[in-house]
Amino acid sequence: MSLLLPPGPISRLIARRLIFAVLSLFVVATIVFWAIEWLPGDAAQRILGRDATPEALEALRVRLHLYDPALTRYLHWLAGLPRGDFGMSLAAERPVLPYVGVFLANTLLLAAAALAVHIPLSIGLGLVSAASKRDGGVDTLVSVTVLLGMSIPEFVVGIGLVAWLSTAWNWFPPLALIDQAQSAGQFALLLTLPVLTLNFVMTAYVVRQTRTSMIETMQSDFVRSATLRGLPRSRVLLRHALPSAIGPAINAIALNAGWLIGGIVVVEAVFNYPGLGRLLVESISNHDVPMVQGAAIALSGAYIAVNLIADIVTILVNPKLRTTLQ
């Protein structure tokens, strides 16, 4: 696959965005640090919980340097960054980076699987409803289904799918429990329900966009002339109309990809999936400042990266934008 990237505008965009990304991540990490400092209680109490005796609390606070002033700890954390050292988790007493790596990989895997289904599914549905009889049975069915998905929160969808497809029918496992003894096939089964849940929520917008812009394009002169030349309907749709109509759909998919990074956190919780969202929630309740910073940076970084890719794709498929950039 040879992609001929026009070098100028795209690389300028990437450079600008990268500088902006580094700055945003720094701000995120700083806000997170002081926000958790400001919460009542401390990590030692959270880690020891009910069993905390004064002696144990004291020993743990000394070991975790919790008696150092907050500013000192913040500066210490900053000083490690150039070395790629994101500090030590307070609860795990191990470096933060490997944790963030493992959990980020799991989250990205789920996101990629969801998108891999999302792109063909939503554009396909959009085409079907655009090509079918306006406001006929198929069109209405697709519209109603996707609007339902749009309006029901993802945790309800997730629980509903579990109740229906795994508890009642036993087709899929209810929880996405990853372990070492799984074959790829089993793993794909595990991911099915979380991926379906995410898609149920994401699809609506893209389908609407595809349908609207397809219908508009179908009424334009060049499509009409193609039809009049007697080309088969499917060829008119796919070879003539779709390429011009695809822009808005791509935009919608790009927006969804951004939403996905947030929505996935909820879905991870429903399916017990070991992703960044779970790490983040758990670390906040532990007051584990370095771990929360690491997880927040990874999540924000993923969000920024996804948006950047989406923008690049949008520019590539949209001749108008490409010329304004030049």
């Binding site: 696959m1 992609l3 001929l4 009542p40 209680g41 109490q45 959270r46 020891l48 919980g49 009910r50 069993d51 005796t53 002696e55 144990a56 004291e58 020993a59 988790s89 609860a91 795990a92 007493e93 191990r94 944790y99 493992v102 990989a105 990205l108 895997l109 990629a112 699987a113 998108l115 891999a116 792109i119 579990v162 508890t167 209810p174 929880l175 429990l177 372990d179 070492q180 003894a181 799984q182 074959s183 790829a184 096939g185 089993q186 793993f187 794909a188 991911l191 011009s244 791509i250 017990n272 070991p274 790490l279 758990e282 670390s283 309740s285 532990n286 771990m291 794709v313 590539l316 498929v317």
Partner: protein, 523 residues
């Protein structure tokens, strides 16, 4: 048109590329994650266990710091104790074969089981026992065990020979064998540091840890080839994970994603009980639910107010609402009637009129207004508070419920606010009485300082005569009933379940105790 065709092609390629990329990433990832599975031979028997309470990155394999269900399960796979409590909380031998006190009950000698090896092949001897207990008591270790083992003289733990250990205590403790059968006293190999124990502890238990990274699930254990019980364990591998949400835990068991689940809620088990693929089991425990009031803070500093609170509650209703009758009613003592030293007498009945009269005598003719703190930190805390509010209203006790965040409850509300919903894990009689009610108790949640009670407990600990000792412990409990600030309302059963083809697993009254050595899976 001709010129733009090139673009439309590249546009489509971009689209196809994006989709293909996503798909490839998903499949590639699945392959990477799934690939170790192919390394497992098909005849490897794996037992999959799911506990409640997520420990996440806090998780540990070091018995000195375990503080939740998942830690407890991990420890019971890898380590063993000198003594284990049985169904009735009587001490039974595990790594110790026998024990005897001297005439005063102050020096205890334990004969150790010979021919036991650690998972790395080193023989288990008295020095491992000495190392284990000295480490637990050492203030530098800062283990919560120090609060329970305070009776042991740190310089009085001695290896008499390879298979004999002697403990010298500060004062006589007749129940000493039970005292060292708690969640912390698992024997570790001499010389292992806390850092090593946390993820790679070596014990004498049926399984050795293969891979444990705190926060990553599951923890993997393999059969211990050196295990001292012939023919055990019956499975090759154990996978342990936490599934915090009870409904998810149940769903995972029904879908055959796990073989054993522990810590099930007592309510909402209909689906499990009606499924032929699942066996539900329960065991009565001394785990209690209730409320705790500071006895040094108004209005609870007046014993008449405390008595009124105890007379107002209808305990049967708590039993129904909180544990669906899986348990029994309690009457303000942490020792259930069936446990050693439990009180035999008939329970008292709720008496609203008497409660009102007591409140009036205490100077509250129009009743009282009190704040009650609760939280979703543990099962039942919120229901207890809600039910108490409704029951107390009848006697003009106006309760204002304040719900605290779950993560904050045990560290910032409990022991710090004068009236809270609470509960205590299953313990032996002396341990429960001392940890919660002695003036010097580490967790004195009622701020109660009662000389008479303290003396009765100390006296009981050194009374060798069984019937006299029983009478002293019972007297001590009556003092708590009359004067204490705790409303101990119900004892809850512990509920667990297994797949129907799992044999040899039993839930234990000391909830943190599991024995996986005899578990087998029928195929």
């Amino acid at each position: 048109m001709v010129a733009s065709r090139g673009f439309s092609a590249s546009r489509r390629e971009v689209l196809l590329g994006a989709a293909a990329l996503g798909g490839a990433a998903a499949l590639g990832g699945a392959a990477i994650l799934g690939s170790p599975g192919s390394a497992l031979a098909s005849d490897v028997k794996t037992l999959r266990v799911a506990t409640g309470e997520t420990d996440g990155v806090k998780g540990t394999l070091d018995p000195a710091y375990g503080n939740n269900d998942n830690d407890a399960a991990r420890a019971s796979l890898v380590y063993e104790r000198l003594v284990v409590p049985d169904e009735a909380f009587a001490p039974q031998p595990q790594l110790a074969l026998s024990w005897k006190p001297d005439a005063t009950g102050q020096v205890w000698t334990f004969a150790l089981r010979p021919d036991v090896k650690f998972q790395d092949g080193t023989p288990f001897t008295a020095k491992d026992v000495v190392y284990t207990f000295q480490r637990l008591i050492d203030p530098k270790t800062a283990s919560a065990a120090a609060a329970i083992l305070g009776q042991i003289d740190p310089n009085g733990i001695r290896a008499v020979d390879d298979h004999t250990v002697e403990f010298t205590l500060h004062a006589p403790v007749v129940e000493f064998p039970l005292l060292i059968a708690n969640r912390f006293t698992y024997i570790v190999r001499a010389g292992q540091t806390s850092e090593e124990l946390r993820t790679a502890g070596i014990g004498t238990g049926p399984f050795k840890v293969e891979k444990f990274v705190p926060g990553e699930e599951p923890t993997i254990f393999l059969r211990n080839e050196h295990y001292w019980q012939p023919g055990k364990p019956h499975v090759d591998r154990v996978e342990l994970r936490a599934i915090a949400e009870p409904s998810s835990r149940i769903a995972a068991l029904l879908a055959n994603q796990v073989d054993i689940v522990t810590e099930l809620p007592a309510l909402g088990l209909q689906r499990l009980e009606s499924s032929p693929d699942v066996k539900v089991q329960s065991a009565r425990t001394s785990f209690w639910h209730g409320l705790a009031a500071f006895t040094d803070t108004p209005p609870f500093d007046d014993v008449r107010v405390r008595k009124a609170l105890k007379l107002v509650v209808n305990r049967e209703q708590y039993l129904k609402a909180i544990v669906g009758d899986r348990g029994s009613v309690a009457y303000d003592t942490p020792v259930p009637p069936w446990q050693t030293y439990g009180l035999p007498e008939a329970p008292f009945k709720p008496d609203i009129a008497a409660a009102k009269k007591l409140l009036a005598e205490a100077g509250h003719p129009n009743g009282i207004d009190i704040d009650l703190y609760t939280s979703a930190a543990d099962v039942g805390l919120i229901q207890i508070a809600t039910l108490f509010k409704a029951q107390a209203a009848v006697a003009d006790i106006r309760v204002n419920i304040i719900q605290a965040p779950a993560a904050d409850y045990w560290s910032n509300i409990w022991l710090k606010k004068p009236f809270v919903a609470t509960g205590w894990n299953a313990r032996s009689a002396d341990e429960a009485l001392s940890l919660e009610f002695l003036s010097t108790a580490a967790w004195n949640e009622t701020h109660w300082h009662n000389k008479e009670f303290d003396e009765l407990v100390f006296e009981a600990r050194k009374t060798l005569d069984e019937s006299k000792r029983t009478e002293l412990y019972r007297k001590a409990q009556r003092v708590i009933q009359d004067d204490g600030g705790a409303l101990i309302l119900i004892y809850a059963d512990t509920v667990g379940a297994t797949r129907a083809n799992v044999h040899g697993y039993k839930v234990h009254p000391q909830k943190i105790t599991h024995d996986f050595s005899d578990v087998s899976i029928q195929t």
